[in-house]
Symmetry: C5
Subunit: 350 residues, 5 copies
């Protein structure tokens, strides 16, 4: 949030990158195709993309790295994107949303991935501009997450080469949503592991991990809930950019979103249950410890008292001289100790 506060006082629409730079150099991957031909190009000069604005083929301009404000600014100018939208693209704290304009649609959402070594969920912001026959995507990192999709376009699998830019955008969203399931699977595995740890015996460390997971789920939730509104807005939009044939796919996207949300909510409930279980296990253990202490103390404290009495040094203590006194006292102690044990068994403490 640091960088965000630096922008205070600037006029709205000021283009400032507010995230952490995650890739060294901006790389632009261009893919231009129609049902017959396909054309791929890698560049770092945004101006090379400008010719595709009005071409009849579908063009996918994938901009990896958004820290170079210049590139976004030029693209925005050429493709006629509102400065406020450009500002949103550069602000990596954006809440997922879709905005529908006359000649393009703006979508921003989070791409989640599971960082295995740290056991944490990584989040990257992806912005998508859908035009009549082009899609511009903005990523923070140079990830190969869209590689299978590119491969599908190259090999012309499915309807992707015959459908328009709207279907391409849908495919990008679909890939991102599919990755949510991957992340959820990993989080689910972590939860199972913690549950096993918990059943073996509760430790403070387990609790800390539970809280980290709880926070993780909280952030997941924040990325995931707005998707519902986003996909609904796309599906229900009457924009000319989204063709009739893409609607069933958007409905499917909506269904997936709901499923992701459902799973996140289930995880939250399960986690709350695990934390509660942890607490009650601690409580139970405490109870057991107290029982042991009480049993030992309650048996021996009175006995020690008796021993103390006959350890007093009074000159006149008649019992001390009796011949069987010692054994009688030992017997008395045995009776008291045994009586206590019977009392505890009755109370179901043993």
């Amino acid at each position: 949030m640091k960088k965000l506060t630096k922008k205070i006082g600037m006029p709205p629409g000021s283009l400032v990158f507010t995230g952490k730079q995650k890739t060294e150099k901006v790389r632009i991957d261009i893919m231009d195709y129609d049902s017959d031909n396909i054309n791929e190009k890698k560049t770092d000069n945004i101006e090379e993309c400008f010719i595709y604005k009005d071409s009849s083929s579908v063009t996918w301009i994938d901009i990896k790295g958004i820290h170079d404000v210049n590139i976004t600014s030029k693209a925005g100018e050429h493709f006629g994107i509102h400065p406020l939208i450009l500002e949103d693209i550069l602000n990596t704290n954006q809440r997922p949303k879709a905005e529908i304009f006359d000649d393009h649609i703006y979508i921003v959402l989070k791409m989640l991935s599971f960082n295995v070594p740290e056991g944490l969920v990584d989040s990257e912001q992806v912005s998508i501009i859908i035009g009549k026959n082009y899609v511009i995507s903005f990523q923070e990192k140079e990830d190969d997450i869209f590689e299978p999709l590119r491969e599908r376009i190259r090999k012309s699998k499915g309807r992707i080469r015959t459908a328009g830019a709207d279907y391409l955008a849908y495919s990008i969203l679909d890939v991102i949503t599919d990755n949510y399931f991957l992340v959820l699977e990993k989080v689910g595995e972590q939860m199972e592991e913690l549950e096993e740890q918990l059943l073996k015996g509760p430790k403070q460390e387990t609790l800390n991990l539970l809280y980290i997971l709880k926070r993780e789920t909280m952030l997941l939730r924040k990325s995931v809930w707005p998707l519902r509104e986003l996909s609904l807005k796309l599906e229900r939009s009457e924009s000319a950019i989204i063709s009739e044939k893409t609607h069933p796919f958007l409905r499917d996207l909506y269904d997936h979103t709901i499923q992701v949300i459902d799973t996140v909510e289930t995880y939250r409930e399960l986690l709350a249950g695990l934390i509660e279980l942890y607490m009650s296990s601690i409580s139970n253990k405490m109870n057991e410890i107290m029982k042991v202490l009480t049993i030992i103390a309650t048996i021996f404290i009175p006995l020690t008292f008796i021993a103390g009495v006959y350890g007093m040094n009074f000159h006149f203590m008649p019992e001390l001289e009796w011949h069987w006194a010692y054994f009688a006292v030992l017997a008395l102690m045995l009776v008291i100790g045994g009586g206590m044990l019977i009392f505890f068994r009755r109370k179901r403490w043993i």
Copy 2:
């Protein structure tokens, strides 16, 4: 969720079975009837069903086992089902829903059954395609849950032989919903048992069972809540496939759904209450244990101290030589002990 993540990168509409194979061979039961005739056939060749697509009689094609993608794919092609729907049929993680198309309705929901030996609720996905005069149902297992319904068709009980495919589909949904009550009854019995265990005395084991039951109820809830929307959507649809006469039955289905949801919610509340009761019982027991420890310790610790004092070996301790000192000290101890007991009674600890 494992298999689901394998599909990442595939184009939407790719047909991959993502569940666990629950039956060895796919079996297809065909039932073709009108008010006068009835015709039953068992096969494993989906193509034998194709002739019923446009027959005037009502046909129920019950496909048991969905792991053979080929069969679903062929059926989908012949009966004109959208590839995304076929994908949903094969994805056993589907959220219950209904989708209404021009010439057919797609319904997917969970069939629950209670697995007595394990004490757990089993869940199986059932997909239903309702056409003008056919119903195709997809089950994961070879269950005989629909046998009473078949029997009713054979014996022509009720209106089933005279009504159309929509009524048949309703009857299938009705059987599934009725089974929910069976499951709820079993869960209710488990809860009563746990409550009895709880009143006898709280154990860690009881708590674990309570948490298993809580999780069970959570999953039940996830299967059950979407049914409300599903049945409402069916009842309110103006699809030509659902005849006017079937609407009261769908309203009845909606009522049953609400009742199931109500019961699940009540169970959730009762379970939360039981867990809370468990916690407070533990707390109470701890209290009682502490009381016993405190009473014993508080009475005997001072007395032991007095005994310790007169057990000291100082050469000059005048009391030691007094004749009645020993009995005086014993009397003093009695007074102190008794005083303590009176104090405890005043505090209502005894």
Copy 3:
């Protein structure tokens, strides 16, 4: 829920009584009146009621006992009631609701009464069919709860003799709702009693009673919440059966329902507060017990140690031979004990 599961596999609309038989013989009370004449009859033959279907006077057919499926079935046939409604009448697990048909209205709700000896709320299902000029009510038991209403009809108090069947039905609903206040009053008294018990000192028994009351309130809530929708549906319906003049009374019924719901919700909150108070009282008490134990133990354990030291039998312990050593040690003990007491006072433990 047992009997409900027996119905699995039967066609919808199968008439099976699923409740517990609460009266031996079905008794039918018929009351036929207009502004001038009144006519009462008691019978056990449902066919005697049939003549009233199209009479111009208002007829109230009160069927006490619904275990005889035959009677309901015949009545249903003659008065043109849908089989699914008849099934609902016989299913005593019904959720309160109203259904509006062209020529009649079906209402089902719970009649609550407080069973004083057991301290529990009893619930009985009442179904009401409102026709153009007749009302059929179905009760499970032979209760005299409607006697004051009958008396009002006989004595022609209020507008009841001049208004139609809709007003009669409203009056029945009004009597049932009024009884809710009676039940709430009793539950409120129980709560006050428990609160008093709680302030005297928390016992495990009080907690159990609190949980029973909590469950009771939960069930009350389940009976009461759907009434809101029910009364709203009646008030807003444009059915010809409900005359314009009855609408203000239905609005009044709605107000009463809201008041009942409000009270139930307040009770729930108060109960949650009482349970929380119980918990914190236990916690407080434990605290106090621990304090006493700690004070006693912390004072005497060090003193006993000192006594122990001078009770050792070493041959060479110079202090033992000093003349004032004993008194010096006693003084030391006094100082330590006093110091502890001052420390505790500072900590505000005493």
Copy 4:
């Protein structure tokens, strides 16, 4: 609620006073004014008010004391009020609401005041009937809460003398709402006081006061929430009784209502926080007590054991005869005690 249950069985619209009689004699204050003249009268005969029904000046009939059913009944008859409304006026358990009729509007709400000696919130029911050019208000007590308003009318401050009956009614509601702020201020002061008590040290008594305050807030909430709907209904009504010019004032009333609700909700949250803080303070204190006990016991129990060992009377204990044994043992004890202290410091218990 006692009296309410006495009404069971009576026809709806039966006029029975169900509250506690709070004033001895009913007093009626009449104020009749237009922009030029003003006329005040005090009476106990309701019939004297009847002439004002159709006068062109604005009349405020303030009835103090509603236990005399006769007066309400006569007023109702003359001013054409529905018997169900009259019943509501006499039932002091009414939920705040507004009902809009063709020729009058009925409003019922609670007037709150803070009973300083008891530290509790008092609640009185006020009913208001707004006609074309009269306002009838029903209070339970002879309070002077409306005196400043009367004074304003007399002195013709603000627009009150020129505006109509609707503005008068608004002014009455405004006075009542203003008093809510007074009550909230007092409750806020109580909360601050309790918070201070809490920070000094938690006592059982503080907890009990917190629970009383919680209950108070619960009841406040019950009086306050329905006001939102009430004021919204008035503002949005298109009744001819409410002139266009009064609407901004009603919107202001709505704003005040929201503010009252907001404050009550904030208080509830603060109270919940205070109770939680109390609990955790208790828990902390317990922790500290346990620490002291554990430190003392853990240091001295082993030392006392050592002293015990050398207090044994065995004939052959070589150490006893060693010359420096006593001092060696004392040194050993010092080492053990010191070691324990270091261990505790490491554990951060000291």
Copy 5:
């Protein structure tokens, strides 16, 4: 709230300042500009602003200090503001809201700033009147928060000089909203600090700080939630005062508001998690303390008892005379102590 209650009994629209006076003298900053010229003036005479009411240039009248009722009253009269709105401007307890009139729009909201030395959030009320070509803003203090905005106007950065009064008002709102992010950043830093403190070891002081932060967040929430409705109302309004071109900016404002609310809600959840973590850490620590106590006590209490037995002074105790008895007893003690340790290890207490 004190001053608010003083207003009871006054007619609505009475102008009384109910806040705390935060600046000595009222200062009025006037800024009048069009695309070519700019004109700034500082005055304390409100009448100097009157000439700008109908000028064609855009005028921003920034009134700093609202305790002088006279100024507000005169401004209200000249610019035609409803007395109820003037009353709202002077009442610093106002809930954020927007009200749209024919010829002006009234907006009231809270300006938050972080008071670093006290570690608390300060809140100041800002009211904004938007006219056709003027904006009047009312602040409580002489803050320089709008200085960057003034600078932007002077340097004619962005579209501000060419756009109208609506864009100026938006810019003011934008500056205020941006400051919320600053406050949230500070609160976030405090939370991180507390979390670190918590992980080092829970202290009562940490808990108190957590509760202060919780209360802070609660008040933040109260300021922030109504902004959602406020910005939505502005964006959706069809008022002629807001030009078409400003709408995208208002949508952006709405987005920012949602982001602020989201962050506040996340903070609330995180805080609740921290408090829960604190509680469980305390519970864990208690557990550990109890374990140490129990282990020490359970090992030494029985041993001390044995020592006590052989410290008794009976004349006839055969063991005392045995030669190896002392060593045998020491060995026995060792065995018992060791056995206890093994028992504890098995129980996983060590």
